[in-house]
Amino acid sequence: MSIDLQTVKKIASLSRISVTDTEAEAMVPELNNILGWVEQLGEVDVSGVEPMTAVIPNHQRLRDDVVTDGNVRDKVLANAPQAEHGFFAVPKVIE
């Protein structure tokens, strides 16, 4: 299936990446080339095959339900573009 300009803009919006019309137009053939190429996977007979979930057999570990971390607020905030009063600061969300 091929994707059009509107689909590219939709994908960009879902990806939270703003694109100009020119950028989006350039991406149409690029993304179509790549998607057209990966679509050859459709020809593989996968009947009865379970999708892979782990490359090396491993079990999910559980740890004791205790606090192992914390009291590092300033470290967490150290790289924030904007932090105020011990919080991350973002543009106003609710009027």
């Binding site: 080339n33 990966v38 892979m52 150290a78």
Partner: protein
């Protein structure tokens, strides 16, 4: 801990400036530059008192400073290298026990978070990000006494095969096409491979004796092949991913890059081991890979996958592969042909799964918690996200995030992502069946030698094909090593890849050692930088 076993067998080391004189076994004095030494030679020479750790660090710092033209480093940290060296010298003087890498300075790919030192993943998005914590792998290396020469350039978020997607500029390979029978030679800037291109360029140019790399689809092995060095991607789960900037979590593995197989074994032992902070870390003891190195392959069977020799395979790569087969036979191995029938689907499978995981992993760059923020006048939260990500990510990163977002979106998930994970299971079964007949596989590492910068950048698909021989082992989590095999007719390195069974790094290292001993690869780039 092996004691200072002397590789320099009876040689006397006489210190002289940055280099030192060495008496060869027949009594001839040879001047050796400290930066020509391998990790094992530095370790042993330091322990044996042939030179101080500070002298080694100063020699490499000087080479780093003089090699700006290669653009291999994003941040240089000469003071860190000296600090670790002084600690090693002090520990040795005091008779304290020495770490496995005491006295050895290394380069750190700028994908590993390093406490107090900017970590960017070669992106604008993380420019100025100074981690308040240390990645598990880098922490293990420092704890073993290694010193950091700097943070090495790479493809942005490790996405690329030529190191042309870094926000901090292209890394240049120290190699150039030579005037040979087959080539006229030129000064074109060549690709060091990617994504670990800063690592490969720096090691080949003697700016560091070893470096860390990460490998998602070939990012250790292809750069190693392009620059005539070696590197190993261990079994998925051997090295903790904690503190490594994530690209595709089911594929990402850290590993070492260096000039010799032994050096890779030394580093990998330090980098590996269980880490409760990574849920996919394997809770297994770390084998003594260095102590068990042996190039005797008697009793081993090498599989040659027929699908890796397609029509049109580069004739020089094909010829090297044939020589590699003879080398392994000479080392005592049996050779059989095997089939991996789903090989042609590995690359398209990878280019669904890796972007899908990337789109999810890179959702964290939102301009709120770390990194860049782009806040247009009057913008709301959603606008801020979109503007930040538009300004912070390069074109290849955006392309992959958008491909990943598309294949995971409602209505397409099963057709793309689920199908890819099923094909991935078939690729894994191919390897399982092949390994019923053999103990390891021998293949080329990359389909060509290095190419000129700019040559493939216009066509993403042509660039993706660089990883055709390395991606299958990544999809299945198998250990795989790149090893130099010789020079092509243009005087550029070409290499071989050894793929092993899960957790059998020893056989991979041993077969690579057998190749290393027989290939006798001593070529190095002429210094022009």
């Amino acid at each position: 801990m092996p004691s200072a076993l002397s590789l320099s067998k009876g040689c006397t080391f006489l210190q002289e400036g940055l280099g030192f004189d060495r008496l060869s076994p027949n009594g001839v004095r040879i001047l050796t530059d400290l930066t020509d030494l391998t990790v094992a030679e530095i370790r042993n020479g330091f322990r044996g008192g042939d030179f101080s750790a500070r002298e080694v660090a100063e020699a490499f710092n000087a080479n780093v400073t003089a090699a700006k033209a290669l653009n291999a480093f994003i941040v240089e940290t000469p003071e860190k290298a000296l600090e670790a060296a002084d600690a090693a010298d002090k520990a040795k003087a005091a008779g304290d026990s020495l770490g496995a890498l005491a006295g050895v300075p290394i380069g750190m790919k700028d994908l590993f978070c390093t406490q107090g030192v900017q970590t960017t993943a070669a992106s604008h998005m993380l420019e100025g990000f100074v981690p308040t914590y240390e990645s598990t792998v880098s922490g293990k290396l420092w704890a073993a006494g290694a010193g950091m020469l700097g943070k090495l350039n790479l493809d942005q978020f490790a996405m690329g095969s030529s190191n042309e997607t870094s926000y901090y500029g292209n890394v240049i390979s120290p190699w150039r096409r030579a005037k040979t029978d087959g080539g006229r030679g030129d000064n074109a800037a060549l690709a060091p491979g990617g994504s670990s291109g800063g690592s490969s360029s720096a090691i080949a140019a003697r700016l560091c004796p070893a470096a860390t790399g990460t490998d998602t689809g070939g990012s250790i092995r292809q750069p190693a092949a392009f620059t005539g060095i070696s590197g190993i991607k261990p079994t998925y789960g051997r090295c903790s991913r904690w503190g490594i900037v994530a690209f595709a979590s089911s594929l990402d593995q850290a590993g070492p890059m260096a000039r010799t197989v032994r050096d890779n074994a030394i580093l990998l032992e330090v980098m590996s081991g269980f880490d409760p902070k990574d849920s996919t870390s394997l809770d297994l003891p770390v084998p003594q890979w260095e102590a068990n190195l042996s190039s005797d392959l008697k009793g081993k069977t090498v599989g040659i996958p027929k699908e890796y020799r397609p029509d049109g395979l580069n004739a020089e790569i094909s010829a090297l592969w044939d020589r590699g087969i003879e080398w392994l036979k000479d080392a005592g191995a049996q050779v059989v042909e095997v089939s991996l029938p789903h090989t042609k689907y590995a690359l398209p499978t990878y280019y669904i799964i890796a972007p899908a995981e990337a789109s999810s992993n890179l959702a964290r760059y939102d301009g709120v918690r770390y990194g860049q923020r782009d806040l247009p006048d009057g913008a709301g939260l959603q606008d801020m996200y979109a503007a930040t990500r538009a300004a912070g990510f390069g074109p290849e990163v955006k392309r992959r995030i958008m491909i990943g977002t598309y294949v995971l979106s409602a209505g397409f998930y099963d057709a793309y992502y689920t199908q890819a994970q099923k094909v991935r299971a078939l690729i894994a079964r191919d390897f399982e069946l092949a390994f019923e007949k053999c103990d390891l596989l021998l293949t080329p590492t990359a389909p060509s030698a290095s190419f000129a910068l700019g040559e493939k950048q216009a066509d993403p698909l042509a660039m993706y094909l660089n990883d055709v021989f390395t991606v299958p082992a990544s999809l299945v989590g198998l250990p795989a090593m790149a090893i130099p095999g010789g020079l092509d007719s243009a005087g550029l390195p070409i290499g071989l890849q050894v793929i092993g069974k899960a957790l059998d790094e020893q056989t991979v290292l041993n077969a690579s050692l057998a190749i290393e001993e027989r290939a006798g690869f001593t070529a190095r780039p002429d210094k022009w930088w």
